[in-house]
Each structure stands twice: as structure tokens, then as C-alpha cells.
Symmetry: none
Subunit: 199 residues, 4 copies
DNA sequence: AATGAATGAGCGTTCATTCAT
DNA sequence: AATGAATGAACGCTCATTCAT
């Protein structure tokens, strides 16, 4: 099979990445062997290693991918009418993508947090993506302050940290306990924030 | 040979568990070899295996221990005068214990979440501990509702989930980004909850 | 499609062989991957395998080639006026060809000796070439005996072995230590052989 | 099997080294798999890796060992009465040790030369050992010059190189062709050196 | 004739665990 | 009870070779 298009190469990379992500989401990074990923991808060992340098790169790619999808909603985040609306939208997104992607990105996210403890190559891109989201949330907070919906003396960056923190808070409970739902979570947040905001 | 020996056994188990926890917090569960734990404990392989059945049991024990310390503050949780006060107290506790224990329990917590994805023996005790905290938080919510500080129609269990979620939210940012502080986090939460509550 | 195509085939084989020889001389047989040879030849994997059955055949061909060039001087050998002259001529040849060939045949020779330990397909042609040279050296010895320059009771075949042995002796020191020079080596040999012989 | 003496450790290292050397002498460095060495040593993989860091270290150790035995005769070398006597003694030694060691050190030496092309960790100790022998040979040459048995204007270091070179010359023919014998080689050398010398 | 992506057997190595002492 | 040398299954990965195009 000679000379193959760049598009075909990208497709193969995607095929392998998704296979790896499915395996990781199922068994965790370390309990997943390359043989398992290789079988899941329906390829040979050599083929997989032709597209990724090794297991580490696959872990980094899967972690990056799981976090990437948050980037899709950055504009929406900055324009959210209220904290609860913002969170509801994000949680909805996070909950819904599993089918579209073929794996649960929140499981990979949780694995990625654990891996981050010792692996900067996982931690740094994740930290960067999260920092970007927080910046957009801070932007939203500033809107709310201008609208008079939030105390003007609050530090927008710090409020954004709390808002952002609701996301991992939801994910941890979703993965460990399983009894959380985006809309009920948002409703409770609305109760907590004094019911202010219309979104 | 009862009591004395039993106490000795417990001491040795503690010595090994703390050694393992230090290693895990430093390198993660899977990058920590039993040899490393054995060296850190200052014992022989055989000795360690005399007290724990294997690495998995050590991981489960370390995860359990990291989560256990939250049990100390259950009464305080239920009596907290406001969401922000509650969260401030918990985050303060969580931030402070690292020195006392010789390892950072929030690092182990993050590792435990990752491990929970595939290992019910880690997930279940953690989930149980978290559920217990949430129950106490729901109790606090009910107090606030009785005091008129919170909308009476809010579901206390759901509000508790949000409150509890602030904890992992803080921990994830602490571990991955590192720019969060208990008091500033609580202050931002206070701004978000409309400044209601004085505690 | 005879002649032209046959010439083209021979050219391609030569191009591949020289590429392989350069790689082998640089990195050794086993640390050279086929990919490296293929890249050095500027061809594709399939093309290289169209001309050589595999890596082993390439090793055998390179070893053969490194040894072949000694065949050029067989007539000179038989006519040498003295041991020292003979050796000087051979060492000079051996030292000089590296540039002409694009690789150092003495490096390949050393590699070939190592490979000979287990691979008769390398050993046999090399052994045959060396035996041929020794036969010509024995011829020279007989000349010297007839001329009265060497004891008549010496076994020419055995003396030839010693003379031939000076060659690998030089090469080993050249490759491992690097402080030997053909003319100084020949001069020392002249001192050792009692200064007999003027050539 | 707890606490074992240093002597026992040394024995095990020797057992493994000899097993590796036998395998290497039989099949070459690269065609010998660690599994083969492990089986030959009668141990498990883990045990072997407890004594040697890996295959490379085993190769280096085997090469070193094959060359070491020449160190035993350094004093004898310096005192040799004639070139032929010197060479005869060395070749005799080299030929005889195979049984004592359980492997043919000249096969390993040839492999080591090949490996030296690209591996300084093999080349350097071998080069050092050879340089040491040459220094002793130069000493012998100086004796012969003082005795009037050799031209006073010859460079002893250069003559030593030629003398030393007889060794690899013998070994190469022994391994590739197999028709050389220490005493006949020495006799031929005696003929070549003008029969001078009584040794 | 030429391509190069794909193959897959086999490699060197690790490490949780055992058990003779 | 304690030791630590020994075990061996399983891992991640390489690379000589093939064959559909």
C-alpha cells in the first residue's frame, strides 16, 4: 500500500486514538496494554507504532482529546447569562459527548488528573486548557458585574476558579457515585446563588 | 501473644501504609514499585507482604486513608453557618493536613479518583465516604432552609452535591494549576452566593 | 529486454551494495537497520528487496566486496622481493582504498570476522579469499628460498600464514587503537626479519 | 534465600558470565538472545538481571574476560628470549585456555573486535589491554637490542606492534580457516626472522 | 518495476510476588 | 517473624520482510 494521502494518515491516527481512548476509559491508562489497544484498533503493533511513538504519546493524546472538546464552547461560556446557565451548558455538553466520541471523556479526564500528579506531559496541556476556560469564565463574571448581577468588588479570576471547579466537582461525583444530573446540578446551584439570574 | 503483639502489628501496618502513601503521593500508584515502598518503609519484601496482601491492598488502604480524614469534620460540616464558611473550613483542613500526615492526601485523592475508574475496591469506600459527607452537607442545607437563609423549595441533597463538588473542584485546580487558596476560594464563593451568610 | 536492463540491474545492485557497505562500516552489521540502508541507497524497501533477498545477503555481499579487493594484488604479492616489501604494499593498498570505495573495507573485514563465528555464508568466501592470498604468498616464499634469501627448510605454506597474519594484525590495531602506519609497520618488520631483503 | 555472602554473589556472577560467554562464542553477540543466556545459566530472567544490568553489560564483561587472560602472561612476555619464543608462548596460552574457561576466548575476541567498531564500551578496555601487552613487548625488544640480537636503530614500540599483530593474525586464521598451530606458526616466524635467537 | 504501509514474531527488560532459609 | 534472592509472566517496542496498489 504505497503513497497514502495525508487525510488517510489523519484518519488512521484518529482510528488509533479512539481505540486507545475506549480502552483507557474502560480499564485506565496502566491496566491497558498496548496489545489491547492494538487489537481494539484492528491493526498490527507495527502499524500503531507508525502513527504514535509509544504508549505515553497515546496517553497524552487521549488526555488532550478529552479536554479539547471544552474548547468548542469557549465563546458560549463568555456569553452565559448566569452562573447556573453557564454550568448547565457545560455539564450538558460534557454529559452528551460520550456517544459522539465513542468513549466517555470525563472518565479520561479523571484518569488524566491522576496521571498529572507525576507526568507533566499530561498535566501541562490539561492545565493550559483549563486555564483558558477559566479566563473565559472570568470574562463572563465581568459581564455580570457590569450588569449589576454580581458584587463589583469580587475578583473575577477567583470567582471563575469557583465556577470552573463546579465542573470537576460534577465529574468526580458522576464517576464515583453516579447520582448527578446536569439540570438538577444547575438547579441546585441556582438555589445556592440566591436564585439570581434568569438563565 | 495477644494485645502487645496486636499493637505491634498495627504499628507496623501504619508504618508501611504511611511509607506507601508517601511514595504514591510522590510518584503515583503505578510508577511506584513495591521495592520503592519497601525501601521507604525500611523493611524487607517479606515483611511488607506479611502485613498487606499486595500492592492493590496498599493502594486501597492509602486511598481509604486519604479520604478518612474528612470523617473528622463531619460534625463541623453539619453545623456550618453558611456555604462559604463550610467550604472554607473543609478546604483549610484539606490544605493543612499534608504536614501532619507526611504526605498530601489531595494528591492521593486525585490518584484514587483515577484508579476508581477500573477498581471498585478503591471506588466503593471513597464513594461511601463522599456520600457520608454529602449527607452531612444536606443536613446543613436543611438548617439554612429552616433559618430562611436558603430557598425552601431547593432539594437539600442536590444542593449538597454542589457544595461537595466544590471540594474536588478546588483539589483539581490545586494539583494541576496550583493557584487556588482556601480563603480566596471561599471569598469568591461568598460573592457568588450573593454575599448571604456571615460565617 | 536483455543487455541494457541487465546493466541497469547491475548498477542498482552496486548502488545498494555500496550504500549498505557505508552503513555497515559506520555502525556495524546489527546496529544497521534495513531502513537505514534503504534510506542511504535512496530507494524504497521494495526496490532493495527486488535486488537482494534480505539483510543477510547484503551482509554477505558487503563482506565479500571488502575482501575482494585483495584479489587485485595477487600477482604483485607473488612477485614481492621481500616480506617487508610484500607487507608494505598490501598495507598501503588496504589503507588507501577507503576513499576510492566510499567506505573503509578494513572495518567491514573486522565485522566480517565477527560474523564468521556463526555464519558460514560469510566465513566461507572470506576464508577462500584469504587462502588464495596465502597461496600466492607461499609462492613468493618459494622464490625467496630459491634466491637463497630464506632458509630452504622452512615450510612455505607456514611462512605464508605468518606473512598473511601480519595483515589482520595491522587491521586490528588500526581499528581498535589507531596508531599503526603501513610504512612504519613495514620498517619494524624489516628490523625483525634481520634487515634481509632490500625491497 | 536471605542474606548471601559476597563470595556467593561473585560465584553467581561468574556462573552467568560463563554461560553468556559460552552462548556468545557459539552464536555471536547479537544472535544470542537473553533467553538463551538465561537458560544456559540455569536461572530465571530476574536473577540474571539482578547480577548484570543487561545484555550490553554482559557483552562487555565477556569481551573483557576474553582479553583479561592475556594479562596473566605480561611478565613472561617482557622476558622472552626471542620473537618466536614470545609468540609461541602467547599462542600456546591462547590455544590452551578454551577448556579451562569453558569457552573459546579467541572466538569472543574476534566478536569483540567487530563490536568495537561501534561500541566504545567494548573497544576501550580491549584497546587498553592490548596496549599494555604491546608495552611489555617493547620492553622485550629493548632487551634484544641491548643483547645485540636486534638492530639498535629499530623503534621498539613499532616492532612491538608487529609482534603483537602476530596474535590477531593467528586468531583470524584459526577462526576462519582453522589450519594454524602455535608451534608451526612459531617455527615459520623463526624462519622469517632469520633463525636468530635461541628460544 | 517500484512503492511504502502494514505485518507480527520475537526481543530485552521489569516487577509483584514467593518461599527456602 | 523476618529476610531478600529468585521467579516468570507480561510488558512495550523494533525491524526484517511482504504485498496490495
Amino acid at each position: 500500500m504505497p503513497k497514502v494521502t495525508e487525510a488517510h494518515r489523519a484518519e488512521r491516527r484518529e482510528q488509533i486514538l479512539l481505540a486507545a481512548a475506549r480502552c483507557f476509559a474502560r480499564d485506565g491508562f496502566h491496566a491497558t496494554s498496548m496489545d489491547t489497544v492494538i487489537a481494539e484498533a484492528g491493526l498490527s503493533a507495527g502499524a500503531v507504532y507508525g502513527y504514535y511513538r509509544g504508549k505515553d504519546e497515546l496517553i497524552e493524546a487521549a488526555a488532550g482529546r478529552a479536554v479539547e472538546l471544552l474548547g468548542d464552547v469557549l465563546p458560549v461560556v463568555a456569553a452565559a447569562p448566569s452562573p447556573a446557565a453557564l454550568v448547565e451548558q457545560l455539564l450538558g455538553l460534557v454529559t452528551e459527548v460520550a456517544d459522539r466520541l465513542g468513549f466517555d471523556p470525563t472518565r479520561i479526564a479523571v484518569l488524566a488528573w491522576g496521571e498529572s500528579v507525576r507526568n507533566p506531559r499530561v498535566r501541562e496541556p490539561v492545565a493550559r486548557a483549563y486555564t483558558a476556560i477559566r479566563a473565559h469564565m472570568a470574562e463572563a463574571v465581568r459581564h455580570w458585574q457590569r450588569d449589576g448581577r454580581m458584587a463589583a468588588d469580587a475578583d473575577p479570576e477567583e470567582v471563575a476558579k469557583v465556577l470552573f471547579g463546579l465542573l470537576p466537582g460534577f465529574i468526580v461525583q458522576r464517576q464515583l457515585i453516579g447520582d448527578v444530573h446536569p439540570d438538577r446540578y444547575a438547579a441546585a446551584l441556582r438555589a445556592l446563588t440566591g436564585g439570581a439570574g434568569t438563565g
